[in-house]
Symmetry: C2
Subunit: 241 residues, 2 copies
């Protein structure tokens, strides 16, 4: 999101005032020789300065100096299937958008739908995570906040993504396995237990708990709003750091 610096506004204030006050003084002097009615001055001033002010604004619009954009971040939600990553991601992306930021939400499942050839073997998952991470880093360096929600079970691939990004915030959604399995929103745990699907994280594939996440949230006993607000606070705190 674009915004103007205080210095830029101050510069505009000074440049405009020089023009406007010189004009007022000159007009009053030319019209009366001694300075006359404020209403007449006001009328002339309004008519003439509107034009000057307008072109002054248009001229400033072409100058890039003193323009800044918010420093974005990659917020990476990792955790078991059903832990609440996507729910938090949706809440967070909306909150950041309301603050005027450009936001892109990258959801592991959604991207897999576009690229159905992506498998669940360790090399496949690893490449998937790294590719989404690469995408995230390219968006970030172009001023976009990225909210990524992927199981991303491997420390090494998460660290690879961290290395690509500027401000990388790893959020471990630490909802315990039994709670995730109890929810089983997509019915995947049932399928994994019955053997219908394999290489399922938490059942027959490992989840490597983040070593040093920026934040850990267990969604067993917190609302979406509470969880989302915790992440939002992290984003704001890390901005000031």
């Amino acid at each position: 999101m674009y915004s103007e610096t205080s210095t830029r506004s101050l510069a505009k204030t000074i440049s405009w005032r020089v023009i406007a006050t010189l004009t007022t003084t000159t007009i009053v002097w030319l019209v009366t020789g001694r300075l006359t009615l404020a209403v007449a001055v006001g009328g002339i001033e309004a008519a003439s300065k509107m034009v000057l002010y307008y072109w002054h604004e248009r001229w400033w619009d072409r100058i890039r100096a003193g323009r800044k954009t918010a420093k974005p971040a990659v917020i990476w939600l990792t955790g078991l299937s059903g832990s609440g990553k996507s729910t938090i991601a949706v809440w967070l992306a909306e909150a950041l958008e309301r603050q005027g930021h450009k936001v892109e939400r990258l959801d592991g499942d959604t991207i897999r739908d576009i690229f159905p050839a992506t498998g669940f073997t360790r090399p496949d998952r690893d490449q998937h995570i790294k590719r989404v991470g690469y995408l995230a880093s390219r968006l970030e360096r172009n001023g976009v906040f990225v909210v990524a929600s992927l199981v991303s079970p491997y420390q090494e691939s998460r660290d690879f993504v961290r290395g690509l990004c500027g401000r990388f915030l790893e959020v471990y959604v630490a909802t315990p396995l039994d709670e995730c399995e109890r929810r089983d929103v997509k019915g995947l745990y049932a399928k994994a237990r019955s053997g219908e699907i394999s290489s399922f994280t938490g059942i027959d594939d490992p989840y490597e708990v983040p070593r040093k996440p920026e934040l850990t949230i267990d969604t067993s006993n917190v609302s979406v709003e509470n969880a989302g607000q915790q992440v939002l606070n992290l984003v704001q705190a890390s901005e000031q750091a």
Copy 2:
């Protein structure tokens, strides 16, 4: 690149003038009862309106309406190895940056270096092209111009990428095979001819000539500047379309 609309500037002009002229009139009336020296008025006006103008600017800075960014595009350079895609891409990316745009250059080889597991079979190439295209489309919808240079030999995968993007400009770098092989910048044609590498586009893997590219350039007899300028003209022409 951010800029302000004429409507926005006009609104600022009017809102400021209402405040400023009312203030001038009121001050003159309060100070003299009849309207006095322009120099005195100018002094008071300058001091007081600088503050008002400044906060007026800061207030406006928080309003998003009437702010626009340039409509970006995905410029997709396709053609044989050695055809001159990357050279044109570098020139074009710099030219777009000089115009104040956000630009990301996506080079097939560079991305392959990051993901060395990507092979050269038809499914591998197809996925590679589609993934880069997905990345391009996400950047584009966040205001970034994308200059992509990939051999991207298949019509179907190029069409897939076209479908993902908003303004997709397919540039066929149509330098003939014998010219590309004569250049052989990376020594790959020699390796492909000797059988050291296989599945090499143009030698033992097909290149599907674009059916309806937005632009076709044969770099045999044109300079980089000339080729780049042709693409730049295309970008500008399609913006007005």
